[in-house]
C-alpha cells in the first residue's frame, strides 16, 4: 500500500507569502555560495541533497486529503479538503476523463474536509462513480449545501458522475474496495471519525480532528487498540500539548506529544503528524518534527516509532 498526501493543513488552506519565498531563496543562495553550481543538474542535486527541507520544500497549504493506493483498481481517499482538487486533476491528466471509481472515507463534514469537492473535476464527468462513506447522518446534506446557491454557482445536481453516500456503522468491520475498514468516534465538535484501514497485512490509521483529553483511561485504551500495531498512524497534531489542555481545550485537536505516546503504547510503526496549524510556516513545522523525533527518542523503551510530518506530495510506502 502507498499513502499519498494531497492536503495536510488544518482548519483552512494557506499559501506561502512572498516574504516566505524570499526567505527560502536567500537561504538557498547563501548556502550555495562558492559551490560552482553552474548547471541545472548540479543545482538540482544541491537542492535535493544538501538543503534543509524547510528551505528546499514546503509542507504545503491544502486542507485534508489523503490517497491510499491499494492493490485494487479503485481510488481510495480519506477526506475531500482542498487537496482533492489537485488529486482529481491528476487523475484526469494521467488516466483520462471517465471510467474511474472513487471511494472516500470522511472524517466529518466540517468545511475544511469537504471544500475540495466542488473543484473535484471527476465528479462533473459522466462515467465516473464516487462513493462517499461516513458515519454522520448530515454528510450528504453538507456536500449538497456547499454546492448550492448562494455559496456556489454550480449545483450539486449538475455533477455528472454517479455520486452516492453510504452511512457506515462505527466500531464494526466493513469490507470496501478490497479493504477492511473500521470507523471510530473521536472527540471533536459534532464528532469526527477515525478509520483503521487494512489490506494484505498492512494497516493505516487515519485519525484527524480528534482531541485526546486523557481524562478517561478506558477511552485511552480504546484508541491504543484502534492504533494497535499499525504500520502508519496519521495523527492530528495541530496544537502543542500545553495549548490543547489549556486555552484550546475542547477545540477538538491534539498534539505531537500525545501522538508519540499513543503510538508507543500501541506499538505502531510510524507516526505521521498531520492537520498542521495554519499559522505555522515551514520552519516551524520542521522544528516541530525535529522536536517530536527527539521526544520519541528520549521516551523510547523497547519499541521505536518512526516520526514523519506530512506534506502535500509526501508518499509513504508501507
Amino acid at each position: 500500500m502507498l499513502v499519498r498526501f494531497w492536503g495536510t493543513r488544518g482548519s483552512i488552506p494557506v499559501a506561502m507569502t512572498s516574504a516566505e519565498v524570499q526567505r527560502k531563496l536567500v537561504a538557498a543562495v547563501v548556502a550555495a555560495a562558492g559551490r560552482g553550481l553552474d548547471t541545472a543538474g548540479k543545482a538540482r542535486a544541491f537542492v535535493e541533497n544538501e538543503l534543509e527541507f524547510s528551505i528546499s520544500h514546503t509542507f504545503g497549504g491544502n486542507s485534508s486529503c489523503v490517497e491510499l493506493e491499494t492493490a485494487g483498481p479503485d481510488y481510495v481517499l480519506c477526506d475531500l479538503g482542498s487537496g482533492a482538487r489537485a488529486f482529481g486533476n491528476g487523475v484526469l491528466a494521467t488516466r483520462g476523463p471517465s471510467g474511474h471509481r472513487f471511494h472516500v472515507f470522511m472524517s466529518h463534514p466540517h468545511w475544511d474536509h469537504i471544500m475540495g469537492f466542488p473543484f473535484f473535476m471527476p465528479a462533473y464527468l459522466p462515467g465516473n462513480h464516487v462513493t462517499i462513506y461516513g458515519c454522520h447522518d448530515t454528510l450528504e446534506e453538507a456536500f449538497r449545501r456547499q454546492n448550492a446557491a448562494p455559496s456556489f454557482p454550480v449545483d450539486f445536481s449538475r455533477m455528472g458522475a454517479r455520486i452516492e453516500f453510504v452511512r457506515l456503522e462505527p466500531e464494526r468491520d466493513h469490507d470496501i474496495a478490497g479493504l477492511r475498514v473500521r470507523a471510530k468516534r473521536q472527540r471533536h465538535g459534532g464528532d469526527s471519525y477515525g478509520y483503521r484501514i487494512e489490506q494484505a497485512g498492512k494497516v493505516v490509521v487515519y485519525s484527524t480532528d480528534s482531541e485526546h483529553k486523557q481524562d478517561d483511561p478506558e477511552e485511552v485504551k480504546g484508541f491504543v487498540e484502534f492504533f494497535r500495531d499499525a504500520d502508519l498512524v496519521i495523527f492530528d497534531a495541530q496544537y502543542s500539548l500545553a495549548d490543547a489542555v489549556s486555552v484550546k481545550e475542547d477545540w477538538g485537536h491534539s498534539s505531537n506529544v500525545v501522538g508519540v505516546e499513543m503510538c508507543q503504547l500501541a506499538r505502531a510503526r510510524r507516526l505521521c503528524l498531520y492537520h498542521h496549524e495554519p499559522i505555522f510556516d515551514d520552519e516551524r513545522i520542521a522544528r516541530l518534527l525535529a522536536e517530536t523525533r527527539r521526544l520519541e527518542e528520549i521516551t523510547r523503551t523497547d519499541h521505536r516509532v518512526e516520526v514523519w510530518a506530512a506534506y502535500d506530495g509526501l508518499e509513504i510506502a508501507l
Binding site: L241, A242, V245, N256, R294, I298
Partner: protein
Amino acid sequence: MELVSKRYADAVALFPAGRLDHATAEGFKVALQPHLARCTAGGDRVVLDLAGVEYISSVGLRVLMLASKQAKAQGGALAVAELQPVVREIFEISRFNLVLEVFPTLREALAKLSPAALAAFEAA
C-alpha cells in the same frame, strides 16, 4: 502516591518521585489535592520539586495543568522546579514551560513566591 512535603514558612514544597504517567497520574492528582485546597490567596504557596521525577507523560502534565488552573482560580500561587534534563525537554517540547511557572531550583522558586519562605529555606 505518597507525596513528601516540606514547609518553608508560608510555602510548601512537594517532592513527587518516579514516573508520572498513565499508571501514577491519578494517585498523584489525589495526593496533590489537600495541598491545592490550601493554595489560596493568603494561603500556602506551593512548589512542586520534580528532582525525583524521571519521566512525565501527557497525563502527568495534565495533572499539573489542572493544579495550576485550580491554584489560579483560588488566587494562589503554584510553581515547579528542579526538572531533570529529560523532564525539562518534555516541558519544552510540550510547551509547558510557557504556561507554568518553571524555575531551575527550589530556592529560586521560593524566592519568587515568598520572601518569608526563602528566609526559612536559607535558615534550614
